[in-house]
């Protein structure tokens, strides 16, 4: 009996038609793809994308040049030099470079920063056209921070209770 059943099964390609019925049913189901550049997949407030340096509400840069991020960076992607600022003599970074080729986006710099100066934004689609553009200078990092100010602040406050 079992032999007969197996014979019928294999003769009429039953398992093939079962599979094709399944794939065919997807023709009528809702699509689960999204149209990427216009539509985006949901992004968590914890997302670790391109870096940014923040300024506080008075427009003063948050970074105090403690170099904790430089020390904790596993890939040694951050280079910082500090010195007195020219106009008021306060201690600031004179150089803050992140080499995005070295960076592994682990988020340790954000974790380490005691003043929430360095953050990782939701920006994940960017490209370089010239050699050397991979090194983000301090001005560029601050500019990204200004451009995405509201988003960064809302993400930071959303995460504050977990950290």
């Amino acid at each position: 009996m079992k032999v007969l059943r197996n014979y019928i099964k294999s003769l009429f390609l039953l398992e093939m038609f079962k599979g094709m019925r399944l794939t065919g049913s997807y023709l009528w189901r809702k699509k689960f793809t999204i149209r990427y550049p216009e539509e985006r997949a949901p992004m968590s407030p914890r997302f670790r994308g391109l870096h940014a340096l923040r300024r506080d509400e008075n427009g003063e840069e948050c970074c105090v040049g403690c170099k904790l991020c430089e020390a904790t960076c596993p890939a040694m992607a951050i280079t910082i030099e500090t010195g007195p600022r020219e106009d008021d003599g306060s201690r600031r970074t004179t150089r803050y470079d992140i080499d995005l080729f070295k960076c592994i986006f682990c988020g340790y710099c954000v974790e380490a920063c005691p003043v929430d100066a360095i953050v990782e934004t939701r920006i994940c689609d960017y490209h370089f056209e010239e050699r050397g553009e991979n090194i983000m200078l301090k001005d560029e990092l601050l500019a990204i921070g200004e451009e995405n100010r509201d988003r960064i602040n809302s993400d930071l406050s959303a995460q504050a209770k977990y950290r």
């Binding site: 294999s10 398992e15 093939m16 079962k18 599979g19 399944l22 794939t23 809702k30 689960f32 999204i34 149209r35 216009e38 539509e39 985006r40 997949a41 949901p42 992004m43 968590s44 407030p45 914890r46 997302f47 670790r48 403690c66 904790l68 020390a71 904790t72 596993p74 592994i104 986006f105 682990c106 988020g107 340790y108 974790e111 380490a112 005691p114 990782e120 995460q159 504050a160 977990y162 950290r163």
Partner: protein, 417 residues
């Protein structure tokens, strides 16, 4: 008459079926493999040596990049070996989170394995379906750690942050009306745990779909049954672990035999194969989908009911809370000490192994009392499996090599390290 010689061909390192950078030198007699010689090392990055020049915590993100298909499991192996040496007690909630994410990782890994294995063998559809489910799980990764793959979420003494109580949602766009948007966001209304539970409820049905497409399919069976047979004795002698060993019929699972974290409180079964061929290993992994889903459900239930700390409150090992750090001088000092020089681990040696999706993943840490490991040895399951390549493909056809590579579930990040 000229002498007939065997033909030697190179498969890879740039071959779509070689799963990365595997180079196989095959000695062929016609279309039959006489000898297979895997050449490894093309993805060698020196992780073990690199770890010697970094503090213990700094190596955690590098562990993600070993077996880059089962990220959090690698972290778990590394972190638990240090915890063993340090003697810290991980909070129970952190252990449940780890177990839950280990199982999510197992599903992630097996989904990719299933998709690519089927693709190599010739079935395209499963690949597309598997990636749809991977998307949901990768969203869990992102929600909890901020990265879709290289999570760097586990820490010595626990996990970095607690699970979020909301999921990110799809935003409105010109392609979606309100009803469509509600449909997309329907499982994202609650917390991460709700999202995971919804997935765990849905997933067994989806595994049934994969099985409809593959398990009885005659092409699939013709390609897999009796290919790459490993007898239980040989599997043991070669040091197999994970589904490769269980496929040969040996009931060995570190989660049951040497329970770590809270696996001893979990209710699940170990699937074993009978014949030790590729088809049995496929069935074992399919069953592991279902068992992992069971474990995830138990973890979700427990995590819902038991809030608590997720990282040890020993500020010599784990940094203090941020609020505390900003107001309390002592906490600030701890914070600075931890992020500059890290913590020192008492001199000694420790080996901790976990059941990664591919098999036994272990880390052997030697410490001389400094803040960096003196030596770190990584035991990668894939390396052992690929060394059995010759034995498994001998006498098979060239096309079967692809099946055997697929069934081993090789990932070169961990093999070459």
């Amino acid at each position: 008459m000229s002498e007939i010689q065997n033909y030697t061909i190179n498969l890879g390192p740039q071959h779509p079926a070689a799963h990365g950078v595997l180079r196989l030198v095959l000695e062929m007699d016609g279309e039959v493999i006489e000898r297979a010689d895997p050449h490894v090392g093309l993805l060698h990055r020196g992780t073990e040596k690199l770890a010697e020049s970094k503090t213990f915590n700094q190596s955690i993100p590098y562990m993600d990049r070993l077996d880059y298909m089962s990220m959090m499991c690698n972290e778990h192996g590394y972190v638990s070996s240090i915890e063993k040496l340090l003697g810290v007690d991980v909070p129970i909630r952190a252990q449940y989170i780890r177990v839950m994410f280990d199982e999510i990782t197992r599903i992630l890994n097996h989904l990719l394995w299933l998709g690519t294995h089927a693709l190599d063998v010739g079935a395209m559809t499963v690949f597309l379906y598997a990636f749809r489910e991977r998307e949901d799980l990768i969203d869990c990764y992102e929600a909890v750690s901020g990265a879709r793959m290289h999570a760097a979420y586990y820490r010595v003494g626990g996990v970095y942050r607690d699970l979020p109580d909301s999921m990110p949602k799809y935003e409105a766009s010109k392609f979606r009306n309100a009803k469509d948007l509600d449909r997309l966001n329907s499982n994202r209304e609650g917390s991460l745990l709700d999202f995971i539970e919804d997935f765990a409820n849905r997933f067994p049905g989806i595994v049934d779909e994969y099985e409809t497409l593959l398990t009885d399919n005659r092409i699939w069976k013709q390609r897999l049954v009796d290919i790459g047979v490993v007898s239980p004795e040989r599997a043991l002698q070669r040091g197999f672990s994970g589904p490769m060993l269980r496929g040969s019929g040996i009931e060995w699972d570190l989660r049951k035999k040497q329970p770590y974290a809270v696996y001893d409180k979990m209710d699940f079964d170990i699937p074993v194969g009978v014949n030790g061929d590729c088809y049995d290993r496929y069935l074992v992994r399919i069953e592991e989908f279902r068992q992992s889903t069971r474990i995830i459900k138990q973890c979700v239930k427990w995590l819902r009911e038991n809030p608590g700390p997720v990282i040890v409150e020993d500020f010599k090992v784990a940094p203090p809370k941020r609020d505390d750090m900003k107001q309390n001088m002592e906490s600030l000092i701890h914070h600075f000490k931890l992020f500059t020089e890290g913590y020192s681990v008492p001199a000694g040696e420790a080996y901790a192994a976990i059941e990664a999706p591919k098999g036994e993943f272990g880390c052997y840490v030697m410490s001389d009392g400094a803040n960096k490991p003196f030596r770190l040895k990584i035991r990668a399951p894939g390396f052992v499996h690929i060394s059995a390549m010759d034995e498994m493909v001998k006498g098979h056809m060239l096309a079967d090599v692809v099946t055997v590579i697929g069934t081993m579930d090789v990932v070169f990040g961990e093999i070459d390290r």
